[in-house]
Amino acid sequence: MKLFTNGSAMSVEDIPVVDFEFFARSIAEAVKSGASIVALFAVPDYGKGAARTAAELTALPTNAATEKRARLFAFLGLPTKGMIGGIAADIGSAFPSLTPKIPQAHMFEREIFENTGIVPVGHPWLKPVRKIFDYDFYSLEGGQTHEVAVGPVHAGVIEPGHFRFQCYGEEVEHLEIALGYQHRGIEKALAGGPDIRTIHFMETSAGDTTIGHATAYAMLIEALTSTQPDARAEAVRGIALELERMANHIGDLGALAGDVGYLPTKSFCGRLRGEVLNLTAEICGNRFGRGIVQPGGVGFDIDEKMATSIAARLQKIVKDTDEAVGLLWDSPSVLARFERTGMLKKETALELGLVGPAARACGIERDVRSDYPSGIYKYAAIPVATYPSGDVYARAMVRMLEYQRSASAILDVLAALPAGNTGKPASRALPARSVALSLVEGWRGKICHCAITDNRGAFLYYKIVDPSFHNWPGLAYALRGQQISDFPLCNKSFNLSYCGFDL
């Protein structure tokens, strides 16, 4: 396995290509010792593709039976080492599925099958990922059982997705989540780039995670072009990323209160979330941070005056939010609904490869900001917030701790903004036949971007792994044995992205 740090680029030949058995064994061993899969994908026609020189292409075997159709890349996060490991294997039209031994591979393998037609043989759950019209649901048979179908159009202002509940009375035995309604084809559109649209595709992969995805992209381009953004630019990015986390966590706490009918916190937090978004808009004019992160630096500076005003407004927001959220913990009816609802065991969360607050609420101490620090997180250590109980209460608690810690991190950075400038745009000319990978702790968890360039230095393959890709199965598990009426509350406690998953 090739080991490298977060936000590194290397020649694609540096990723060792091994035989499949060794590949599978290496991943299994790494996962056993605490590693997690950050990306697993197949680049089709790799041998024929532009990643090879013309001379090598003519020397390829022509026998269809032995022809390797794709190269399978696996990237693993090794948190104890603070490193990422990369390994690859060439495969034909099928390969033995990793999922039976490594459950967290399951969504990745389904995606490989859907995108390339290459079959992970022995996969226990080989269903579509984004092809909604082909979906075939499991169903439960028996006199007392019934099925409830919800979506794609939901009751609130929410993204589309389809949920199919198999119930025994009021109790959910099994929930299946069929996504893909938001599929726009972003990854496909990225191939051949980067071009003038690329950064906007990143910013809209998941609009509520504009800064997270744009930062992952910028880090990757900077790695490929050996550009080091100025400390000041990194400070602005860090502030924007933490503001994004705060806004969403505060909004979620309000929405959780709303879902159990506790209106004071709901309405206070609804407004306070907006106040945080307005701070982001002070920086760049857009409430979601469009245009802040640019490969090479940032598009907007925070001057002295703005820093002071943002700090003052932020302190007021935190004070008001602490008060609003504090009401939740004082209200027995809220606690009764939060506690022991949507429980997820730590072992299940680990097996499924959950990330972000959902994982930390199961007591898993994983956070990209401290495991694979980059940017401001190399200097400003933000304590990882965990809570052991794995229920809605824990997911709310982790969010509260996180917005508070984000706020103090922002205030620290604002108080000592490094001198320097906001950087200049990184070149779009990328080195040929290279690979780069970046990880960012978005507000929902680990965001992974990975790019492989072709002979001309254009993207041959661009992989985006939104945290929701890991976490949707977690929600399905949390619902098992729950009352179906608890679904909205459980769903909100995860608050996963449809568009980030669907891309």
């Binding site: 609130g156 202002v157 929410i158």
Partner: protein
């Protein structure tokens, strides 16, 4: 309970005073762009850099006219790259949140208005859009000179929807930022329901749908079915560049390139995403609820 009451007191009254007064928006908020046609040399620097092909050069209309620049607010994602690229300073962002039109053509700045027509709405809207943006409403209080941007519904429709309108939102392939800024209208800061407008859970109860997103191929059927499930008369409102034209996703094979490819649209609200004030203002103008003093 006492605590909840005490914090209710602390948190205070936070609903903004619109439409009596315009709220203060951030200094860097771009708002509607303005084309200074006299300054423009049609060099094409802006056109080359625009990620959504929102800028085009119109020529030969009316016959023999000089080529001139046109900027389609329906495609624009407000990235301001054209403003930076223009060597002549011919594109400026005015900070005005008032944007929107009843017809798609009304979103194109700088297009030459046709002269001969008996039907007024479409053309007037196009004309007005240009004028209104040129006056640069800014963040000051509304003034009597300001041109109405969006033509209100006709009297019959106003009678039906003017005092109460229920909206069903359908999210169809966007990035969820438009949804977020529609959602925020229900918070106490904007308090949509004080205007009699509210979001409803079922299309059967809805007077209007707000569509966001370019309409992914996977949502096409669901959007059409939602529309069909609504009782008539009904309105459709496209919120955001995606829903108007496909936005940044225009031309991708997995999307329809805008909601009007699937259902007819009555109101277009530009932005990526539109500021909540833009959405609120457009809804109120449609319902003739923005006071016009003169």
């Amino acid at each position: 309970m006492i605590k909840a009451l005490r914090s209710r007191l602390h948190q205070g009254y936070k609903t903004n005073a619109f439409p009596a007064e315009n709220p203060r928006l951030p200094e860097r908020y771009p708002g509607a762009p303005r084309l200074e046609t006299e300054r423009c040399t049609v060099c094409g620097a802006c056109k080359a850099i625009c990620p959504t092909s929102a800028i085009s050069v119109q020529s030969g209309e009316p016959a023999g006219a000089e080529p001139r620049l046109a900027l389609d607010l329906g495609r624009c994602i407000f990235c301001r790259k054209c403003e930076t690229a223009c060597p002549e300073g011919a594109i400026a962002f005015t900070g005005s949140f008032r944007m929107g039109a009843r017809a798609k053509a009304g979103l194109v700045l700088g297009s030459v208005p046709h002269v001969s027509s008996t039907r007024t709405s479409r053309l007037d809207v196009s004309n007005d859009a240009h004028k209104a943006v040129s006056t640069g409403a800014g963040n000051q209080a509304l003034n009597s000179e300001e041109t109405r941007l969006i033509e209100a519904l006709d009297r019959k429709m106003l009678k039906i929807f003017g005092r109460a309108m229920k909206i069903r939102q359908v999210s169809a392939g966007g990035c969820n930022a438009c949804e977020a800024d529609v959602n925020v209208l229900e918070t106490i800061g904007f308090d949509l329901s004080r205007f009699g407008i509210s979001i409803t859970a079922s299309p059967r109860h809805a007077d209007a749908i707000i569509v966001t997103g370019p309409v992914s191929k996977n949502m096409e059927l669901a959007l059409r079915k939602t529309y069909e499930a609504m009782p008539s008369p009904k309105l459709v409102i496209a919120v955001g560049a995606c829903a108007i034209s496909g936005g940044i996703y225009r031309g991708l094979p997995d999307v329809c390139g805008g909601a009007d490819a699937v259902i007819p649209i009555d109101l277009y609200i530009p932005g990526c995403p539109p500021h909540p004030m833009t959405i609120l203002n457009a809804l109120l103008e449609l319902l003739d609820r923005v006071p016009r003093k003169n």
